[in-house]
Every structure is written in structure tokens, then in C-alpha cells.
Chain length 343, copies 3
């Protein structure tokens, strides 16, 4: 759905101080590089000011300290935090350009007895809603969804096509679960017995707070006895693994391919870069930031940035250094010996 | 479904020696920390004995050497292996608290001609069963399943909603496949030709033994010519990648996010921690244990534990060490030079 | 579907010079080790010539320099590039042994108004095709597919069961998307605001070229403003994460579990081994090859092989070396001090 707005509409909806022609027509949001004369763009990082100077954008959202530069080249909207303004602008834009979900349950959906689906909710084709499940106001469930018995989806939450929410699992309000998400599969629990593994049935569930977004094909396992918990505002990206009884504190965010093993307890406002791994039964306090591909093998009790990835190099250099690394302990001993002999 | 049992019921079903009131009512299995006066708990590791002392649990399952301590605080069930006892208890509990699947094929399912579905099996909504597929006694296939032509699911195996079992692929008895599992996608095989990739059609299948559990969104590819094979008792967790023609020996277990490249041959009773990678065409003998995030780049012919992960540190320390690591080979040369000069 | 062909049929279809009985019956393609007297096999790597000598295969495809050895043991097809020949042979074989998809839309599928589905295309059970979507000639969409509004699938492309192609996303001709693929989920974009994350709606789409193969459960996110782009001939394996606005150049190939963060720009003819991670906003020029499990943290402007993985070892050795690694910078200082003192 294409749309044309005037700059006056934008500032009326989102605020900011407009410099330039309020009647300018905008039909696209675009980065500075690919913007054209009908594009609205933004400059969040002053480092890219040079890109703004050469951009064809009709108008650029900027911070006060970039106002002069922006106005010199065309229209500008000045606001304290251009990146935040831009985020809100994308939301406003999406609301105008995307087809709204039609309330109601698709004729092909299978709804078991005792499920409560709010009249304003939308349930897509080939979706199953289990006995006793509760679907809140304004919820959108895409095609091929599976909502287990006794599960609940809070007001305004959107499930993309093909999301599985297991029995008794709960998602709060205003969340977004992307395609392929599996909430409530079994945690990995076995008792060893004579060389075989005896399954520990996973009797807990998953409780997810409000304003949580979960990326495509990410898995959040149900707890063994108690529940796995994601607090309000948590953002998980794609292909993340969250083990049983993990607790992720409010507003923590994890990039793609992160793995969090069972019973890890992660604080509020933490972040983890792509591919990071957090081992089980650890605790990370609030405001801990893990660099991409880092493996956290013990608890972190002090806020800060933590890292542990092998620096990459051209293959020949890496080979030499990696080979030497396997003798590193010996090298230390040789240094010690030298120190003694030169004393 | 909530349930109340008496301690007498538990020991009647599962054995162990009960100390305390056999009539005590239990309505929940719980860890020591969150147990209440109607909870049955367990102590598997003597390290946590202090938690038992302060637990509100009605009864605790313990080993003989913890009997005195347990009985001092309340009822106890004494058994040689409390963790194993607890595993069986969760199974017994699940059987009593979870709704049993209703035998029969859901009206919405699509079953192609020649498929054989046992009368005691349950096939969920929107599931497809291909021509010539065989579904055994007591099998449960959740919603949105896809069972390919000529595939087979053994007696008592459970497929969660949304599992894909490709054409001609076979799963044994008593298995569990979680949501999002893909068995039988194509292995990654291409012949290079003038800068492009020519597809090698993957003509093998996947053969999975009995008592195998496969976690959510895990992928097991079909073989190129021969089959990919998982032997009895293998346990794979979520988001694992198993390439074509891999062979995983009986009772081996892999944690989440593990990747196993094509034609790797892994022995029996092996384990791999989360995020470990095993490169292709390697062999691991029985009883090899790979630490999380370790990359196995050559065959391992001796049982034992193998590791190779970068120790994490605060970011500043890591940066200094990582920078030095890129000169490690040079450092070794400098140590050699020093050794020569001080002789 | 089993099939029997004569060697004469093979060379008639695929070329090569046949040495031996053109009437020999073949009912299986097999590796040298498991081949039997009705198998056709191949020798791509002269290193395995000894396996050929002892193989029971009816016939082996070989390069001219292996002709003498091959003919000495039985029939042979001689061709310049046996591996490429074998790739084409698997395609020819698959076309003869796999049931062709039946054109037409399954009765259970949900097709929204304005979708254009070519008469020769096949749309499987429980598949949804959105408003305005275009499905080309000969396309096969398996069960449980979701084709978003305005999306397009090019001529001859095959979607396995359970593929999600988001709104406005486009896949070219002759592609293969495996089960669980999610094209067009939201990229991970948030503006921080007072300790919370404000969503940046992802307004771009995904554009995928011709002859692209995407493995099971791989995710390709839609762009934030502009599109995420995969050029012709790209091959991505299973469980790969491709962030928003990534650009992957023609004929680049990535092994399983690779993660590519947002806005990375990868050249043509690049490869990445399993579990490699490429951080965001980087550029890799053409012909860059990344070793498995390597984390690319800065742009690579020179073709070649790049590596950065921790060499694994037995656990005791690793522990000692890893502990020393955390003091590596200090060791360097100690070497410097020694050098000064011995001058």
C-alpha cells in the first residue's frame, strides 16, 4: 500500500520543529544514500553528516547541532533524538501503509472448547487454539499458529504466521513473535542411567512479559518444574536458544544465534552480541554487555562489557599463532626460566 | 490438569523407602527453593543439602547418606539414585496431569492413498501424511505435521506440532520430536563449475533409531547417497544442525546450537556442549566429550574431554590479550632468541 | 520409486566415454564403499583411488588419469570433471525417481483475491497465498506454506513444506527453499529510550535472485528501509541468520549456522564455513573465504582465506593454555623486559 503524506502531517503527528516547506510530499522513508526527492530521511550519527550533504532527500530529521547543515541543503525536522524520532516515524508509517488485520476467526481455524477469543482479535487460517486458551483484545495470530491448551496471549500482541505457543505458556501485551518461534518445547533434562538417558518430563511453563519481541525460529523452552521467565521489554532476535528455567530481566536484548543454557539468570538492561553463549546456572547482574561470539563460563557480578573471541587474521598468520597457542603454557615456563637465569 | 496424590501412591508406583506420613497430600513437584507444604522435592547433589534444610517441601527424595538430614526436617523418600527417581517421578506425574491424545485422524488432516495409520495413533489438525507412510501404534502427531511419502514413525513416538519428516525418512519407537524439527531436508552438496554451484540432488534418507529425542527447530539432513543415521537413545537439543551422512552413535547427547558437518561419524555415549561444532568427515570414538563452543577440526580417537574456547574477560583485558595473540608466533621467536642469547 | 537404467542411457543423457558393457543395469547411485553390482559410483578425488580398486560398483565415473585403473576393475565412464558429472547424474536420477508435483491448487489452500498462480504451478495443502502474490510457471509450494501479500515466486522455484515468504518479498527462478525457512521477518531495529527499546518498523523487503538455495530453518530478514538482497546463485545452508539490509553477492555460499549481522555487504564467490559470524556494516570483497567458526569483526578488502578459531585440545592442556592466555599481555611485557635486560 503506497501512501503520500506532507511534512506538515509528520510534525503534527510526531512533533519536532520543521524548517522548510510544510507542503512537501513524502512517499517513502529512506536512508540518506538512497533517498530521492520524495523521501524523508534522518541523521542519527553526526559522523555521517557528509552523507546528508549529498543526499537527495526531501527532508532530513536531525538533532539541533546539525540544524544549520541540514537547512543549508533543504527541509529539516529538528528534534532532540533523531533516531528515536525515526523509530516512531516508522511506526506511524507502518500504521498507514500496512493492511490492518481483520478481526475474527478464519473459517479454517480449529478452536477447541473453552478457548476465549476476544471479538477484536484476528485468528488466521489453519491456526489451532487449544482448550481454555485466552486470546486478548486486538491480538493478531497469523496462519498456521498453534496456541496450546491453557495458553494466553495478551492484548495487542501479534504472532506472525507459524508460531507455536505451548500448553499453559503465557505471553503479555503488545508483544511480537515472529515466524517459526517455538515457546514451550521441552527443556533438555535427562537422568543418566546405565549408559542411557531417562527423560525428565518438563512440567513448568513459559511466562513472557509485556512488550517482548522474539525473532524468527527462536526457541524458549518450558521450565523443568518452575517456569522459564522473560520479563517486560525483552528483545530476542532470530535463532536464539533459551533453555529451561532461564530468567531474562526487563529490557535485556540479545542478537541473533545467542544460546542461553538452562537456569541462567540474566539481569535487566543486559545485551549479548550475535552468537554469544551463556552457560547454565550462571548469574549476570544488570547492565552486563556480552560481545558477539563470547562464551560466558562463570557468573558476572559487575556491570560492564565482557569479551572473549579469537581475533581473526589471514589464514597463514592464524595458523602460526594458533599452533603457538597450543604451547602457550610452555612458553610461559620458558619465560620464567629466562627470568630466573637473567637475575 | 491439577492432581493430588498421597506419598503412599508415589512409593507404590516408583519404589523407595518412605520415612514419614504416607497420607501426606502432594499436588506439585518443585525444586527445594520454591517448594511448599504440598510439594514433593528432591536432593540429587549433596552440595545443596543446606537448601533442603530450609525447604518448605512436604517430602524430599534423597540418597541414603542424606537420610538423617532429610528425616530431621520432614518426610523423605530414600532411594539409591534420587535424580533418576525424580526423572521417573516426572514421567509418572506427567502421565497423570496431561490430557492423553485422542486416537484417530483429525477431520482436517490430509492423508494420501496408501498411508497406513494405526487405529491407536493420533493425527492432529492440518497434518499431511504422504502416500505409503506408516504411522505406528500409539503415535501422536501434533498439528501442522508433514509426514512425507514412504516415511515411517515407530510405535509410541510423539511429534509435537509442526514437525516435518521428509519422504522415506524413518523414526523409531518411543521418540520425541519437538516443534519445528526438520528431518530430511537436503544436505548441502554442490559441484563447482565455472564459478557457479551445480546441485547434487540428495538421494539418501534419514534413519533414526528408538528412544531418540530431537529438540525444537533442529535439522537433520538426508544423505547424499546413503542415509544419515541417528542410533538408539540419541538426544539432540534445540537448533542443532546435522549434515548429510552424519552417523551419531547410540546414547550420544548434544546440547543446543551444536553443528555437525557432513559425514562426521560420532561414537556412542559422546556428548557435546552448546554451540560446539564438529567439522565434516571426522571420526569421534565412543565416550568423547566436547566442551561448549569448541570447534573439532580433526578426528578424536581417544575417549576424554576436549576443549577449545577463548576464555572471556572484561573487555579491556580481552582487547590487550587478543591484540597480543595476533603476534604470538613472533613472541615465540623472541623467546627463542632470548634463550639463545642467554645460553 | 525405484528405477533401473542401462549405462547406455546414462551416457546418452549426460555424455562421457563409456568403457565396458553399455547394457549393464544400474538401479542405484552409491559411494564407492557401499556400492554393489547394480550401483553406479564415482571417483572425484584421486586420493580415494584405493577405494575404487576394492569397490563392488558396476561402473565408476572417473577422470581420464584414472581411466586405466578404473577399466582394470570393471566398467567406467570417463569425463573431464567426474564430480560435476556426478552432480548432473543425481539430477537426472532424481527426475526419474521422484514423483512430479501435480499442477494445481490443493482444495484446502487459501488463496486471497488478486493472487496470480500460474496454471502449471502446484500449491500444497494448507498453504496460504496472499493478495496480489504472483506464483510463476512450474513453481512447487509444499504444504503449510505462507506466501505474503504482494510476494512473488519465480518460474520453477520449489518451496518445501512449511516455508514463509513475507509480504512483498521476492524469490527468483529455479530456487529451492527448504522447510522452516523464514524470508521477511523483521530485522532487529530499536531506538533506545530511557532504558527501553522503541521498535523501528522494518519497511523494506527481501529480494532473492535466481538459482538460490536456502536451507532448513534459515532466516532472511526484511530490510529496515531498503531491501535485503541475495544475488543469483547464492547457496545458504541450514539455520543461518541473515540480518536486515545484508547484501550477498552472486554465487557466494555459506555453511550451516552462519550468522550475518545487519547491513553487511558480502561480495561474489565468497564462502563461509559452519558457525562463522560476520558482524554488521562490514564489507567483504569478492572471493573472500571465511573458515568455520571465525568471527569477522572488520571489513576484508583483499581476497583470500581468513581464520580465527581457538584450536581445540584435550581439556587439561586447554585449561593450562587458556589460563595463560588471560595473562598474555603481561607475558609480552615480561619478554620485553627480558630483552632489555639482556641487551
Amino acid at each position: 500500500m503506497s501512501v503520500t503524506v506532507r511534512l506538515a502531517d509528520v510534525v503534527a503527528a510526531l512533533g519536532g520543529v520543521l524548517h522548510g516547506d510544510a507542503g512537501l510530499a513524502i512517499n517513502r522513508l529512506a536512508p540518506l544514500e538512497s533517498a530521492d526527492a520524495a523521501s524523508l530521511s534522518f541523521l542519527a550519527n553526526p559522523r555521517y553528516a557528509a552523507k546528508m550533504a549529498t543526499s537527495a532527500a526531501a527532508c532530513v530529521v536531525v538533532a539541533p547541532d546539525q540544524q544549520a547543515l541540514a537547512v543549508a541543503r533543504g527541509a529539516a525536522i529538528v528534534t532532540a533524538d533523531p533516531y528515536l524520532y525515526f523509530a516512531r516515524l516508522t511506526q506511524w508509517w507502518a500504521a498507514r501503509t500496512r493492511a490492518a488485520a481483520v478481526p475474527g476467526v478464519h473459517a479454517s481455524a480449529v478452536v477447541e472448547p473453552g478457548a476465549l477469543i476476544h471479538a477484536s482479535a484476528s485468528v488466521g487460517p489453519f491456526t489451532c487454539v487449544g482448550a481454555g486458551a485466552r486470546i486478548g483484545a486486538g491480538v493478531v495470530i497469523g496462519s498456521h499458529g498453534h496456541i496450546g491448551a491453557g495458553a494466553a496471549v495478551g492484548e495487542g500482541t501479534r504472532l506472525a504466521p507459524r508460531v507455536t505457543l505451548g500448553d499453559a505458556c503465557v505471553v503479555g501485551a503488545r508483544g511480537i513473535l515472529h515466524s517459526g518461534v517455538v515457546v514451550g518445547a521441552d527443556g533438555f533434562g535427562f537422568a543418566p542411567s546405565q549408559g542411557t538417558w531417562v527423560k525428565i518430563e518438563q512440567l513448568g511453563a513459559v511466562r513472557i512479559g509485556d512488550d517482548v519481541e522474539i525473532g524468527a525460529n527462536t526457541c524458549i523452552d518450558r521450565g523443568a518444574l518452575d517456569d522459564t521467565v522473560l520479563d517486560d521489554g525483552v528483545k530476542l532476535y532470530n535463532l536464539i536458544q533459551v533453555g529451561h528455567n532461564v530468567h531474562i530481566g526487563a529490557h535485556s536484548a540479545m542478537a541473533g544465534c545467542v544460546g542461553i543454557a538452562g537456569s541462567a539468570k540474566i539481569g535487566k538492561h543486559c545485551t549479548a552480541g550475535g552468537g554469544a553463549i551463556i552457560l547454565g546456572h550462571l548469574e549476570l547482574v544488570d547492565h552486563v554487555h556480552i560481545t558477539a561470539a563470547t562464551v560466558v563460563t562463570r557468573s558476572i557480578l559487575k556491570p560492564g562489557q565482557y569479551s572473549g573471541l579469537f581475533p581473526f587474521d589471514d589464514n597463514a598468520s592464524w595458523e602460526k599463532n594458533a599452533a603457538t597457542l597450543r604451547q602457550l603454557h610452555t612458553l610461559r615456563d620458558r619465560i620464567r626460566a629466562l627470568e630466573k637465569s637473567t637475575k
